[in-house]
């Protein structure tokens, strides 16, 4: 052995492990736009609303804080918020990680359409999700109808209204796609030879998953778990409809305090409490995922294969069953309801979406809400891509604290109550420019909500790019900007498209903030649906369902288009 003497002196830092950071100035320059955006449209409004609550007369009154924090009902709200978020996240991971494998590594007819379909719930307005589950799990559920028909029972036996079970199921339904998309996206690009190697070395399937796939997937799992947790922690529409007394999250309490009790100090203290909780969660998340991830990625198409063994078919079948029961059936009920009119099934609800006459509830033709949504959605997507793209790039090329700080800072709007953001926009954005009456507020609020998704989608892919490819390009004569354009951009092309699709879908379906900032004569679809749901009558409910179905169709079309778009040179691995 020729290197026997030296192997004992082996250095631990090989060049491959070493990340080379760009000059600090470059990373900071990239951050200018994201920082201004976050500062103006997030930090400033949130500061304003908290200030308004804690110091209404320009003087800090800590008594309010003490009153709210010692209130037993506030404590029980906080406890409920926390534990339902933890359980929701755990359940979602448990159900969706196998689903991620089935949808990303197994090939079967209709896979692509199904993948787009499971993403639809995620972008549905929370109000619609709540209504769909109410219809599915309430006394008039098709399940009850079936029970009556099959077992001959006389009274409906299933009624999960105002139960935690309904909330948890709706949360899993809602967030299934987050895990499937994030974890599945990485899974489809993991070199299958790693798993093959483990199997050849004698590891069982389960062992291989636990010791090879799971560690490699951990950045994606941690990222998706963080998102699901923050989502369920700040859950609003779902809990508002499916919950009830003792079943309210902090977000719902903020809404109630703001709109019903008009108790701004209470609302702002709750917002502060939520912000602290979210920041703590982000700090934990930051610690968990500090390690830079860099792994060999392969062509996603090459890792998919049809199920071959009986076990694989069984696994696929079980996952398809979960998808059908949990994810597709609420959607089916939603569509079914859109055809229910006072006189049985009919097309009335849909016809009224097309008629160009002002609706009594909306003050404008329903079709205009559709047009507004699309226009605002596209604008918000562009803003979110620029802001999120710059931030993700800075977090990749920068070193040390910049990386972590950007990573966490952009997650904050995600965990903050959309209601707070929307309300904050209204009370704070009169300075430095008075934007309060501007239609720009809607896409800006939507972009703020969508930006963290852009970052989360781009970061894992950006970080997985082999640093040596950038080095190779630089040595071949490419300037830093050129390296980014020639190496990073083509590789993240697909991730960019996914991010764009997500942003658009989120913007189109955004409700919590939009409901505050949308002007009465410029409603978006979710706002219109909310207004329709607020009125009694089969016709209003049916039209809300029809518009929800249309909204689901638009977002599904966007996501399906993205799935197809990645064919071609852009984003090809």
């Amino acid at each position: 052995m020729t290197d026997g003497t030296a192997s004992t002196k082996r250095r631990t830092h090989g060049p491959r492990r070493h990340r080379r950071g760009a000059p600090r100035g470059a990373a900071l320059a990239l951050l200018v736009v994201p920082v201004v955006f976050l500062g103006w449209f997030f930090v400033w409004p949130v500061t304003a609303i908290v200030g308004l609550g804690l110091a209404p007369d320009g003087e800090v009154q800590l008594g309010v804080l003490a009153r709210v924090l010692t209130d037993p009902s506030v404590r029980s709200v906080a406890w409920f918020t926390l534990w339902q978020a933890v359980v929701s996240t755990g359940l979602t991971l448990l159900v969706a990680i196998p689903g991620a494998y089935a949808l990303s590594r197994q090939e079967f007819p209709g896979r692509r359409a199904l993948q787009a379909a499971v993403t639809v719930p995620f972008v549905l307005p929370t109000v619609v999700v709540g209504s769909a589950f109410l219809a599915l799990l309430g006394p008039r559920s098709p399940i009850n109808a079936a029970l009556v028909a099959v077992l001959g029972e006389t009274a409906p036996t299933l009624d999960l209204r105002r139960t935690v079970t309904a909330i948890l199921l709706a949360h899993v339904f809602f967030n299934y796609a987050v895990v499937v998309r994030t974890v599945g996206g990485l899974w489809s690009m993991l070199d299958p030879r790693l798993e093959d190697a483990a199997r050849v070395l004698g590891a069982s399937r389960w062992r291989t998953f636990r010791e090879v796939s799971l560690p490699l997937l951990s950045p994606a799992i941690a990222a998706s778990a963080a998102i699901v947790f923050l989502f369920t922690f700040t859950s609003f529409g779902v809990v508002l409809i499916l919950g009830g007394p003792g079943r309210a999250t902090i977000e719902v309490e903020i809404h109630r305090a703001t709109t019903q009790l008009l108790d701004l100090p209470l609302a702002s203290t709750l917002a502060l409490l939520q912000l602290v909780a979210v920041l703590s969660a982000l700090a934990v998340y930051g610690r968990l995922t500090r390690r830079a991830q860099q792994q060999r990625l392969v062509a996603s198409a090459s890792t998919r294969r049809p199920p071959r063994s009986r076990g694989e078919r069984w696994f696929l079948g079980a996952n398809l069953a979960v998808i059908v029961i949990l994810v597709l059936s609420p959607l089916a009920v939603l569509v079914e309801r859109s055809f229910v009119t006072a006189a049985g099934y009919g097309l009335d609800n849909w016809r009224r979406l097309l008629v160009d006459e002002p609706s009594s509830v909306l003050a404008v033709p329903a079709g205009e809400a559709v047009r507004n949504s699309l226009l605002f959605g596209v604008s918000a997507t562009l803003v979110a891509l620029v802001v999120g793209g710059l931030a993700a790039t800075a977090a990749t090329v920068g070193r040390g604290w910049i990386t972590g700080a950007v990573d966490r800072a952009l997650m904050v709007p995600l965990g903050t109550s959309a209601v707070t953001v929307g309300f904050g926009f209204l009370i704070a954005l009169d300075r430095p420019l008075d934007l309060r009456g501007s239609p720009l507020l809607v896409p800006l609020a939507q972009a703020l909500i969508a930006t963290p998704f852009v970052v989360r989608t781009l970061l894992p892919v950006l970080r997985s790019i082999d640093q040596r490819l950038r080095d190779a390009a630089a040595v071949l004569g490419a300037s830093p900007l050129r390296v980014w354009r020639e190496v990073d951009l083509p590789i993240i092309g697909r991730a960019l498209l996914v991010a764009a699709g997500f942003s658009f879908a989120i913007a189109v379906g955004e409700f919590g903030a939009t409901v505050f900032v949308a002007r009465a004569n410029l409603p978006t679809m979710p706002v219109a649906i909310f207004r329709l749901l607020g009125r009694p009558g089969v016709a209003n409910f049916g039209q809300a369902m029809a518009m929800s179905t249309l909204l689901a169709a638009i977002t599904a079309a966007a996501l399906l288009a993205i799935d197809r778009l990645r064919v071609g040179s852009v984003g090809r691995f």
Binding site: H18, D471, P490
Partner: protein, 354 residues
């Protein structure tokens, strides 16, 4: 020409390369030979501008490279494990350098054609790099590195991931490629066969320093330290007593003037038997006057194709290896006589960092 002086490189607090000096003349093929982890890849990365030096200077054709980005240095680097762009075809990979250097389309196409034909891959332009075999990837990586016509071409363990047969074939191709390019080449490897067959000059590197720089022949004839001798596969290294006039070896006492000497001190010093110094001495060719006779027993035999490598245990307790050719093949257990050429006993310089 490349001139490196007082170069120190570190990852955080870990010093990887320390006060290193190295130079390569125009058109010269310089091999940096050393065990894994000795800092040789880091050295290349520093020359390429991918690692900032802690101290020292790097000049290329008289120009100080300090402060220049990798893309401003006009050097080529063929990476360990290739680092081919997975999202591009063969031609797109090779065209990358000429393209970012702003060449026009016909010129780029010409460079690609030239580079691919030089590495024997004409006709693979439109294949995707995922579809290539290991040897083909290797050649694409080489073609990509030479296509911008760098003033300095650096190769980092280019044959490391290939099987033996491919290594042998590429080893035969590389000298032709290098001479056609006429560029200065720095070639990093841990394999002494690669270094010996490619290099005009070899720099043996150890733990961040250059242990010896010489032509392959000179290195082989007079390794300076036990580390160099061991890394070249020479051996065994034995302790001998050296004073001003005589050297006492385990096999006998010889005049100091008669042995080879890398600058050893007096007292107990390390010595190595150079490869040609040892032969079997059958009855018809007994040890001569300039040789020491040593009685030994054959312990192992290893067939090496054109010869037999015979391990013998001497009465003085060393295991020595000697080549035997057809007509003089002893069996295991045979008593044999060895002849050790006195001039082939090579005293090594003090190996302080052993």
């Amino acid at each position: 020409m490349l001139a490196i002086e007082h170069l120190t490189l570190a990852y955080g607090d870990t010093v990887v390369v320390e006060d290193l000096a190295l130079s390569a003349a125009d058109g010269e093929v310089l091999c940096v030979l050393g065990p894994s982890g000795c800092g040789k890849s880091t050295l290349l990365r520093a020359v390429a501008g991918l690692e900032p030096p802690v101290a020292g200077t790097i000049h290329l054709d008289g120009r100080d490279l300090a402060g220049l980005r990798p893309d401003q240095r006009d050097v080529g680097l063929m990476f360990q494990e290739h680092a081919l762009f997975p999202h591009r075809t063969v031609a797109e990979n090779v065209a990358f350098g000429p393209r970012v250097h702003g060449l026009d389309r016909p010129a780029i196409r010409q460079r690609v054609t030239e580079a691919l034909s030089l590495v024997g891959l004409s006709g693979t332009e439109f294949r995707h790099v995922d579809e290539l075999s290991g040897g083909e990837r290797q050649r694409v990586a080489l073609a990509r590195a030479i296509a911008p016509r760098p003033r300095l071409l650096m190769l980092d363990e280019p044959l490391g991931s290939l099987d033996r047969a491919l290594q042998t074939r590429l080893l035969e191709d590389l000298p032709r490629v290098f001479s056609q390019l006429g560029t200065t080449v720095v070639y990093v490897t841990h394999d002494q066969d690669e270094a010996l067959s490619l290099a005009d000059r070899i720099a043996v590197m150890r733990a961040g320093r250059i242990e010896q720089q010489d032509t392959p022949a000179e290195l082989w004839r007079a390794p300076r330290t036990a580390f160099v001798a061991g890394f070249l596969g020479l051996g065994p290294v034995v302790d001998v007593q050296a004073d001003a006039d005589t050297v006492t070896t385990p096999w006998g006492r010889v005049p100091r003037g008669a042995v080879s000497d890398a600058g050893a001190a007096t007292g107990t010093v390390a010595a190595v038997l150079l490869p040609e110094a040892l032969r079997l001495a059958p009855g018809h060719r007994p040890p001569g006057e300039d040789e020491l006779a040593v009685a030994a027993t054959v312990a192992t035999r290893r067939f090496q194709g054109d010869h037999l490598r015979v391990g013998v245990d001497t009465d003085t307790g060393q295991r020595l290896y000697v080549a035997a050719w057809r007509g003089q093949l002893p069996g295991v257990g045979d008593e044999v006589t060895l002849a050790i050429e006195v001039a082939g006993i090579h005293l090594l310089a003090d190996d302080a960092r052993g």
